[in-house]
Symmetry: C2
Subunit: 345 residues, 2 copies
Amino acid sequence: MPGARVTIKDLAKRMNLSVSTISRALHNHPSIGAETTREVWQLAKQLGYFPNSVASNLRRRKTNMIGVIVPRIDITFHSYVISGVEEIAYKMGYNVTIYQSRDSLEREIAITSILQTNMVAGIIACLALETQNCSHFSRFNSLRVPLVFYDRVSNDLEASKVIIDDFDAASRVTQHLIDTGCRKIAHIAGCQTTSIFASRLEGYKAALLRNNLAFDPAMVYCTSNLTYEEGAKGARKLLKLPELPDGIFCANDYTAIGAIQAIKKANLKIPDDIAVAGFSNYPVSTIIEPALTTIDDRAFEMGKTAARMLIRQIEERDANIASETVVLRTDLIIRESTRREPVRP
Amino acid sequence: MPGARVTIKDLAKRMNLSVSTISRALHNHPSIGAETTREVWQLAKQLGYFPNSVASNLRRRKTNMIGVIVPRIDITFHSYVISGVEEIAYKMGYNVTIYQSRDSLEREIAITSILQTNMVAGIIACLALETQNCSHFSRFNSLRVPLVFYDRVSNDLEASKVIIDDFDAASRVTQHLIDTGCRKIAHIAGCQTTSIFASRLEGYKAALLRNNLAFDPAMVYCTSNLTYEEGAKGARKLLKLPELPDGIFCANDYTAIGAIQAIKKANLKIPDDIAVAGFSNYPVSTIIEPALTTIDDRAFEMGKTAARMLIRQIEERDANIASETVVLRTDLIIRESTRREPVRP
DNA sequence: TTGTAAGCGTTATCAC
DNA sequence: GTGATAACGCTTACAA
């Protein structure tokens, strides 16, 4: 950065003081006279002095930057998490710098290098879909840079986590479908190498079994790409089964909406012919008709929690806090897409 | 950042070479012997050396960081712009750090300080709604940090801009409504102190006048908050007018969707009773029923263009490029919400 | 209460 | 080809 930058040296010269006095005054160090401090601040303002945090970071060997790695920012869930992180971070005097892995392992690895190289104080991350192995994060353990995973977390690495109980949430949604009379419930599932999506499938299965309903693998459509298009594709495939499902639990809201559109196109009624439920409570879930029953996964809260945990670890690093895992409670949001007369067979 | 960080000093000691040799080798400087260079790289890898970019930035007095200020990342438009910026930036060896102003002037000012303090190489920004006066950006002129505004730009500051022709786009949408037979066209407008929204209103007006249709101020609902809720509220208000509109042009897709929902709730048919058009071509515009006619504002392209302009300015700083303005072409996307029989009176 | 001086990890300018 | 050394702007023992 070129241009005439004002430094503490300049202030020192102008005031016939040493740079250390200036530095201390600018930090309101108690040992510096109130008068001096005031004058230093005044001159600093007058000359347009701005601290150079690059220099300060180098000297202190730490930054106040929190690096956040999200798969994609254009997914509502993650943008809410980010807002939650920022809410806490700014309040605590940290800056937040956001990186998108775009669900690519290669980019995720590149980002970890960038973060290391930039000496971030701590990291909050949600793993890319492609990521199976987290060894590229392990460096932060030896560098003693605190790390908090959220949502899509790693089990092969000592690190803190903030998650929801996907198994429980999925099982509650499925139970809700059963309670409204569904007996042949299908599932549009996410990438099964990712634990949250595997748990959602398991939760669905568990609810079926608990209610003495058979689990039929043909009723599960798996995709690694939880988009509108894949939701529609999955629904079309399920509609071709010899016996139609009367309910579909989708692993997220995007696929649920795609499914709803496909089902409507097939001239079936929702929820009467087929009830549909999603997962995440995105704003679009109230735009689609019928409005979508879903799970609120507390994205904002997740971001706030992750930030609080991380900052505590940064600031009490010496205390050597053992990594901790927080599981957030979720809410079932019931809307028109499953609202039908409870039927008892 | 504590922990045992390996530095070039360590490498130098281990190899009985000077730090300057190591530094040069790591940059593949031609003056260093091929053999030495190879060995240095090998040892670096072996010891897990990572460059400390904070130190390097301080010494070189520049970073390769591009700061992006967006109002909110959870607005689709901005997340697409960011993706466009990243696409180009990473290719050119720059990192991107994202900040949200949340449309608050206060936060925007704070962010400019953070960016200055962190010595970013350049800045891409979309002004907060609250921002009328851009003096907090002027510091970057004297610091010679290049600045590119996109979408919501400032006219009271010498800086590059990448925008769309809002006037033209709005006038084309309105013309399209007229072509499908609308004669009483209303407008749900954005914050009129923001130039893009003022231009959209003007474009709408111009199209009316061009077609000898009267402009009726009662047909314009203004809001500074282009949300679903405000769109619905605006539509409800318009539906109370003595003479109903037969078309509504909304300043963005969110308000258009809110309007569609309100109109449907009032048991009016879209597009037959009232045609509705939006602006931005968000993914939701294909989810709503009927699907929304809108303007594609080329968000991704805008991000790419902004990044290209910025990087050119960073790298050819000495050339002292005059600030430039790029206007991107937009596309009218016609969908069901306006697809009705062309009527000629 | 203030000053001196060393050093953070790197790069750039000389010199050899 | 390689080395010595200063400097980037700031913080912090230690001295005074």
